[in-house]
Chain length 425, copies 2
């Protein structure tokens, strides 16, 4: 009997942990991703705020899995999945005996085309680079315009959604605007600079304990972030946004972190998607009706204690390991086992010296939380080199309130966005 | 009498050294560049070969000049220069009392549209990023195709022009292909991988002493680079190139380092450009007929001992300082002095442990030359932080034959180029 072909779709936290857990398995493993790198999403906002360079949070999948003789990597776009013929359709058809789908999630604009067209996401590495260039360019433009109203618009930065990404980016931006950019733009009046964080619920960080949420909110407010709770963005255009109570905010930059939904790949796996397009799976992570297919991470909908598991890295990582174990069991004639999530807790930082941490009943906020955040994130980052560089940058930034990486290299996207705005105005 | 307005066009080596030399001058200095960063061009090939990240060789102009109270920076495109009204035309008109034009040079395709369309340059930061992504993507594609001929084409990398940029990039690529990528692509046969360096003259590095050139050529050959001397590229299409002797080379990647010419800004300054569109200037760097205008760096044509000064960083830097001194003299009622170039020598590396160095009569080649190259380049790089990071990367690369930065982040350009090739094939 030949080794089974195991195909893993997606090289995010889930797919990568599955691939690693299969390194000693008697199987032919193939990891497919449309990019050639795995990146550490929790630090993406630092790339977007010019603190880190892409290479410091991203690493080529091929070198991560280099040591694994039984594993191959393919940079390709998944065009479809034929569950009956058991092939993944890419530039060529790729047959599988076992399939692990870890395609993750994408930004959710809730079907609003205007919002999709006039806001920027913060989900991928290219989003972060485009955003970094865009934010810095607003300041360049602000120094040039003579129109007061336009300058205020250029210097207004709206973030929709106060989840971890939203509040972490809001904190990073306010730091950038308060401590650093005034030195770069000594002749620019920073009074009109605004960071507006809009959240539809009445609290920030809903996945955290309310006390932690309100503490984080307090810190953000003290750091100059305008919090607008209980309001949602209903319209977006080239000039700004409108809230559900009719409030108008003129802004040249609107960052959309108000929602994610499952990758479109999910449509290939089920006709009856769950909330946010997630794919309902059995407790064993298997796709109902297709024992050879497992779905993990943000893409999978699995309830535990009546609650769907959150879209978090630890869930994806643990499910990846579990899916690998199931494959090994099944290929050995055994049975897959149900998945149990071990809550490792969650944390979020609002910038210098302050983070909120929640480990089951233990809740920490402030400087200690920030140190915990620092340690955890540093240990997670894959390559040693990245760690060294990240440390240097963080130390540098911490001591000198400086951000090393403030290059508008993505002139393409940056300018494009700019021109687009011009035209539509 | 109010302080004169000194406008500097270009934040390259020339413009920046002029701005710095004016830091104590009683003048209103404005530096205009279409990018917000100054970058260290001599190391651009390392970004293009995935050894360094952009932020390690580039730094925002605003932070470089942050300390200078009399200096402002503007990120803008120069649309024209009105020598009579004494204004630089950008998004708004910028008047000047003294103008220093350091707009530099651009890639020269010698008017061949096909070559412009089907080759990639290595002059700007975006060129380097696009090239890095493109080269890595060729290998990804090569693993996917089943067509032997197409695979050979994908794995053939042509570099036109054996000046410093050409040979340094050829050396960097051959290292990348020999030491590193085989680990990332264990299932790919590397036998068909070719690096072809084409040079119209009968020698490489014509600005160096012939002995150094032939030594460098020897090392490149030993490292697997195919040198084609005395031949020029006459045609380029989506599938490859044709040489002047009719030789056909099928290649999916053609890098054009065969020539540069003065920035189009030069046309605003003279009706009678010199060779390569450079602007002839007086020995004082002044524009004939416009004493208040000085032209420096690659853009300026100035002969010394019957030879036009080379397009090199040291020339631009020294001319920048001299132009600043002239401005200070003139604004004080004095007279500008003629410029003399102090040859600091030139150097070029062909990769690990080997560089050729020429300091007047002193000529060094090999490991010692490489150490000198290392020291000089490290000292040149502007910010401390960059130095630290660059050191880490170089050490890492030197010890582990590894290249930290191998991300295909520019999926945009990369894919675009790809699709273009597809269509045109």
């Amino acid at each position: 009997m030949t080794a089974p072909r195991v195909v893993i779709v997606g090289a995010g936290f889930g797919g990568l942990s599955a691939a690693r857990a299969l390194r000693r398995a008697d199987a032919e493993v193939l990891v497919i991703d449309r990019y050639n790198y795995h990146f550490f999403q929790p630090l993406l906002y630092q790339v977007a705020s010019g603190l880190l360079d892409p290479a410091e949070i991203a690493h080529p999948v091929r070198s991560i899995l280099r040591g694994q003789r039984n594993t191959d990597v393919r940079m390709d776009e998944v065009r479809g999945i034929d569950l009956h013929r058991q092939v993944v359709r890419c530039s060529t058809d790729i047959p599988y005996d076992y399939l692990i789908v870890a395609a993750g999630a994408v930004t959710n604009h809730f079907g609003n085309q205007d919002i999709a067209a006039h806001t920027m996401g913060l989900k991928g590495l290219s989003d972060a680079l485009a955003l970094r260039a865009h934010v810095l360019e607003r300041f360049e433009r602000a120094t040039e315009t003579t129109d007061e109203r336009e300058r205020r618009r250029l210097l207004t930065f709206v973030i929709a959604g106060a989840g971890p990404t939203g509040i972490e980016y809001a904190g990073a931006l306010s730091e950038l605007f308060v401590h650093l950019l005034p030195k770069d733009f000594p002749r620019l009046d920073f009074a009109p600079v605004r960071v507006v964080l809009i959240e539809g619920r009445n609290r920030v960080l809903e996945t955290f304990h309310p006390r932690l949420g309100s503490m984080a909110a307090g810190v953000l407010r003290r750091r100059g972030v305008e919090l607008v709770l209980g309001r949602t963005v209903t319209e977006a255009d080239a000039a700004g946004i409108t809230l559900d109570d009719g409030t108008r905010v003129d802004a040249a930059t609107v960052i959309w972190t108000a929602g994610v939904c499952a990758s479109p790949v999910g449509k290939q796996l089920t006709e009856l998607p769950a909330r946010f397009g997630r794919v309902p799976v059995r407790s064993t992570l298997q796709l109902p009706g297709h024992d050879e297919v497992q779905v993990i991470g943000d893409l999978a909908e699995l309830e535990e204690n009546g609650e769907p598991l959150p879209m978090l890295a630890p869930v994806a990582i643990q499910q990846g390991e579990h899916a690998a174990a199931n494959v090994i069991a099944m290929s050995g004639g055994g049975a897959p086992t149900p998945f149990r999530y071990h809550d490792k807790g969650t944390m979020a930082t609002v910038g210098r010296n302050y983070a909120v941490v929640q480990l089951g009943r233990i809740r920490v906020a402030g400087f200690v939380g920030w140190l915990m955040w620092l340690v955890v994130h540093l240990t997670y980052i894959i390559s040693f080199r990245s760690k060294a560089v990240v440390l240097i940058n963080w130390a540098w930034n911490y001591i000198f309130y400086d951000r090393p990486v403030r290059l508008i290299t993505e002139v393409g996207p940056g300018r494009a966005a700019e021109q687009q705005t011009e035209e539509q105005r």
